[in-house]
Structure formats: structure tokens, C-alpha cells
Amino acid sequence: MNPMKIAVCIKPVPSPDHYHQVGIDPETKTLIRQGTPTVINPLDKNALEAALQIREKHGGVVAVVSMAPPFAEENLREALAMGADEAYLLSDRAFAGSDTLATSMVLAAAVKKLGPVDLVLTGNESADGGTAQVSAQLGEWLGYPHLMHACGLEVMEEGLIRVDTARENCRVVYRVKLPAVVSVVRTINRPRFTSLMGVIAAGKKPLTVWSCEDLPVDRCFLGLEGSPTKAGDIYQPDLSRRCELLDVPPEEIAGAILQKIRAAGLQL
């Protein structure tokens, strides 16, 4: 079997320890992440782990790709430390504010530029936006078959993989011809811990930055202006709680509680 080239798309997302620092831009309705420490989107780590396991078994090259501001170099170095062979950061001011369609278009352009890629892996969704749209859109841009919710992945023979996908009460198993795009869920594996040797090696692995100029993408379809998705409204729900004492005789308490619940909008 020939060694495979696998591209793994990763996204930096706000570190859960700093969620309180993440705000929403009232004008653009996008998340304000500036200054918030980031981590690799957890499911993207599962995707990277899946890629590394395939490479360890069948040989090949694992390339990580991310469209993000320059600070994401740190996240890509972490992916290299975990075991990826090469990293590509797609970074340009023109990309800022891109929706999933624009993002997947840029990612697809980068994957094409990598040369013949056998498999593209992503996390099923991101921990911040959580749209779960990018992998399917990526498949469409590339013209590859795409599958979501992968909880199992195995190379069967040259150019053919078996993908187990998780459903609510069952698994659906597919045999997929490569190249393909597959997005994975948490149960597919447990991402490995990064070793000190990996950290040292990461500094010597190639990390390439591509701007808008380096990719065959139309600026008209990039960024906030070029994105068809327009958020209608985004707000933070009021999660405040209050305590109310019901000063009624014991035999009327149940009725009073029901009345309060119905008044709050719950039809019992």
C-alpha cells in the first residue's frame, strides 16, 4: 500500500479557562477572541490523532492546515509537537470575519495546493462556533465524498477506507473511496499526550504561512463582506437566578408552584 498524504484542518478556539473573556461584537455579530488564549479545537485533536494512527500503520505524511490569525502559529506548533509532519497557516486580513462557506473555500484551496491528498480529516464541529458545516462544505469545494460523525476509521486497501459513523442508537458503516473528507467525533480515539521529544522536534518541522495572494481564491467571497451568512441577532441569555418564598398554607403549595411554572411559560 502506498503511503498516504493526510490533511488535518485545525481551528484555534478560546481556551475554556478564558471563556469569560470572549465577547460578541454587537455590529458584526462575531465572537471577539482577541487577547484570549486559544487551544486546538478538541475534536480537531481527535482528527489529528486519527491521522497519526493511520500514518503509523501505513506510512505517509500528515499536514495540518489552519485558517487563522498569526497567533495560531502556536497552535500549529503544538500539532507538530503532537506528531504532524508539516503545518500550513492561512493568514490574511482579508480572511477576517469569514463565515463557514468562505472559510471552507480557503481551506479547500490550500488542500489543493498541497498536491494529491488522500484524506482530509476535521473535527465534527468547533467548540466556539459549533456550526458543524465546514467539513461538508470542504468536501463540496474539493469534489470529494464527505462523511460526518466518524467514530471509527480504518484503511481497508489502497484507496479505500471504512468509516463508522455514530447515530443516536446505532452505527452506520460506510466504505469510502479516497480521496474523501471525514469529520470525527470524540469517541473515535483519545488524543495522545505530547512528549518533550515532540516539543523539541516541532521547532525543526516546516511551518508555512500562506496569505490570500498565495491561494487561488476570489477576494469577493472572503471575509465579512464576502460571506453570505449574516447573523440576525446574537445575545447572551440571562442566566440569573432568584429565590421566591411562597407564603401560602401547606395544602396550597403545590397549586401555587404549578401556577408559577405556568406563568413562566411552561405548559404542564
Binding site: E78, L196, V199
Partner: protein, 380 residues
């Protein structure tokens, strides 16, 4: 002056933290309560390079330095100072072989130790005292080409776990009639060498500590580390530079634990309708702990920058060890004070921080010994 860590060191800290939060933090209280030393976790740490962080790659290590070692120990101690103590002690044995061993000894021992396949220890202290190196009772006698060791070591960390232990023994006297010590590498399984009493400590409980008994323990001349009669140099160098650095780093982890827990509790606990973080008395104790942490951090990492630059750093490490270990006790007490009744419950780690802090005071030399070293330097 550049006080920042390199990008590589930042990434290393992040990856170590991920490991610790996943594999250590959830079990730290249980290990402490049961005084259980998780050797399986040590093996995982070995696979990740922690056990041989400062060992060159040619001997199977990660090839980093003592600064990186401190980062690892700090991150582990943030959740389990006892586990960090276990690793710290292993490093003492590893460092002794790395810094004083011959090429054959390095090739024989370091690959297994650096990868965590074997556990190391260093045992100097005897019932007559740890700092009184001139009054060793353990003897080493050359008989028919073998060194025969007899004596008892006490307060030996990793006593019941180490497969490779460096022990010191009196092997003669020097020109001035003073005891001449020699360091020996003793392997587990030697019929004359066995762990004795295991101590029941109130702090740093995960780390095993006890006696080691040498009863006609025969070792070959190839076991001598650093040369005959140079045992005092081996012991002092490793304890003062690697041991004190380790205790300082462990203290940093404990200080950060106290600080983070104090902040979280102060924000969550409400009195008079407001979080207690709004009370100045609480703010002052948080500020004192923050300053202690930052000062200990600067002292420790500055001393380690000297160590990694192969410059003399014994006084700097004595200052760091003295300040940071004492600061932990104060910070842990503040943490308990702020928590009121909750502070004495074992449901919270506050009591463990105080116990670990107190247990760290005598390790690698008491505060008074540190002050003697610092004063000698100031008065020189």
C-alpha cells in the same frame, strides 16, 4: 534582561499541564489519602520524556535543561506535590550519574532511567543527620576486590521503589584526618541491600520515604561514582543544585495552587451579600500570595538560568529554596484562613497544601541550613 520563557518552553508547559490535568489532578487527593505512589503514572511520564528531561538525547533523554525540569515539576506539583517529589528524587539519582558518572556508567544506567523504565534514588542522610556529612556511619571496605557496604540510611525518598540508588559511605580518611566519603551505584536486587522501615509522613505522602539497609552489600569497583573519596562532592553538588532546585520548583506549584484556589474561593464565597473578594482583608492575603509566588518564581528560574549556563548557582538556589518553601507554608495558611471552616475539611486540598508545604521545609536542607549558606556568601 529577558524574563520570558522561550516559545518552546511555553509549549512544553502547556503540554505538561494537559497531561497533569488529565492524569494527575483527578487522582491527587486519593493518592494522598492512601499514601499511594502511582508507579504506572511515572512510567507514562517516562514515555513523555519527564524522567530524563535534562539527559542528553545520546543517553535516551529529552536533551533539555534544568529550567525545563523545573517547569515540569511546577506543573505536577500544582496538583500533586507528592508525585512531583517522586519524580524530583528520581532526577537526583539521574543527575548524579550524568554529572559524575563515567561513560560506561552513563551508557549502562541512563537509557533505562531517562525513559522511566527504571526508578532512581539518592541516599545520603543517616540517623546521625543529613547535613553532618563528616559523621557518616555507613562504611565501605575493600575486600578481595569488592566494596562491602554496611550501614543504614534514613529519610531516603524512593527507598522502596528505586532500582538504581546512589549511596554514600565512609571509605577512609583524608590527609587532615577527616572522613573520606565515596558514592556508589547500588542496584535493586543486590542481596545485601534492602529497604527497611517505610515512614508514615503527614505531607508529600505520595512520595515514598524510608530506610535503606546495607548489610554486607557487595558492589564492584565499577560502581564507584565520581571517584573514590569524592562522595561528599557528589552528594553536596547534587543536593545543593538539583535537590534544592527541585524543592523550589515543587514549591512554585504549591504556591500557584494556593493562589488559584484562593482566588476561586474568594470569587465564589459570599458574605454580606457579596463575594468575599470584595473584602480588603481577603484581597491583602491574595496579594501577599501573588507576590510570594512571583518572587519565588524569579528566584528559582533565575538560579536555574545560571545552572543551565553552567555557572555557579549554589547560593542562588539556597535563596530560592529557602524563600519558596517558607512561602508555601504562609500561603497555605492564608488559604485556610480565608476558607474558614471549609479550610479544615479534607474535601478541599487546602490542608494538603499546608501538609506538603511543611514536609518540604527539611527536604534538601532546612531553612536554617539555607540561611547559613546565604549568610556565608554575604559575609565572605
Amino acid at each position: 534582561m529577558d524574563f520570558s520563557f522561550s516559545k518552546e518552553q511555553d509549549l512544553l508547559r502547556k503540554t505538561v499541564r494537559e497531561f497533569v490535568e488529565a492524569e494527575v489532578a483527578p487522582m491527587a487527593a486519593v493518592w494522598d489519602e492512601e499514601d499511594h505512589c502511582p508507579v504506572d503514572v511515572f512510567k507514562k511520564m517516562g514515555e513523555l520524556g519527564f524522567a530524563g528531561v535534562f539527559v542528553p538525547a545520546e543517553y535516551g533523554g529529552a536533551g533539555l535543561g534544568y529550567t525545563e525540569r523545573a517547569i515540569i515539576l511546577e506543573e505536577i506539583a500544582r496538583h500533586s506535590a507528592g508525585l512531583a517529589m517522586f519524580l524530583m528524587t528520581h532526577h537526583l539519582g539521574v543527575a548524579a550519574i550524568l554529572e559524575f558518572g563515567g561513560e560506561d556508567q552513563k551508557k549502562k544506567y541512563l537509557p533505562d532511567l531517562a525513559s522511566g523504565r527504571k526508578i532512581a534514588g539518592l541516599s545520603v542522610t543517616e540517623p546521625t543527620g543529613g547535613s553532618d556529612l563528616g559523621n557518616h556511619q555507613t562504611t565501605g571496605e575493600l575486600v578481595d576486590g569488592w566494596w562491602v557496604l554496611n550501614g543504614r540510611k534514613c529519610f531516603a525518598s524512593n527507598s522502596h521503589l528505586a532500582q538504581v540508588t546512589i549511596v554514600t559511605a565512609r571509605t577512609g580518611t583524608d590527609d587532615k584526618g577527616r572522613q573520606s566519603l565515596t558514592a556508589f551505584i547500588v542496584e535493586g536486587g543486590n542481596p545485601g541491600f534492602a529497604p527497611g522501615r517505610k515512614e508514615n509522613k503527614f505531607g508529600l505522602r505520595v512520595s515514598i520515604m524510608g530506610d535503606l539497609v546495607l548489610n554486607n552489600c557487595r558492589v564492584g569497583p565499577e560502581s564507584i561514582l565520581g571517584g573514590e573519596g569524592r562522595g561528599q562532592r557528589v552528594a553536596l553538588s547534587i543536593i545543593s543544585e538539583v535537590g534544592r532546585a527541585g524543592m523550589s520548583a515543587i514549591s512554585l506549584g504549591l504556591l500557584r495552587a494556593c493562589l488559584e484556589d484562593m482566588v476561586r474561593f474568594a470569587k465564589e464565597r459570599k458574605l454580606y451579600g457579596k463575594p468575599i473578594s470584595s473584602l480588603q482583608a481577603i484581597q491583602f492575603s491574595i496579594a501577599e500570595t501573588k507576590v510570594d509566588y512571583e518572587a519565588a518564581r524569579l528566584l528559582t528560574y533565575r538560579a536555574l538560568a545560571l545552572k543551565d549556563a553552567k555557572q555557579r548557582c549554589d547560593v542562588e538556589l539556597a535563596m530560592a529554596k529557602y524563600f519558596s518553601t517558607e512561602a508555601v507554608v504562609k500561603a497555605a495558611k492564608r488559604n485556610m484562613d480565608n476558607m474558614g471552616g471549609y479550610g479544615v475539611l479534607n474535601d478541599y486540598p487546602a490542608g494538603r497544601y499546608l501538609r506538603d508545604g511543611l514536609a518540604g521545609l527539611p527536604s534538601a536542607g532546612t531553612s536554617n541550613i539555607m540561611k547559613i549558606i546565604v549568610a556565608a556568601s554575604a559575609l565572605a
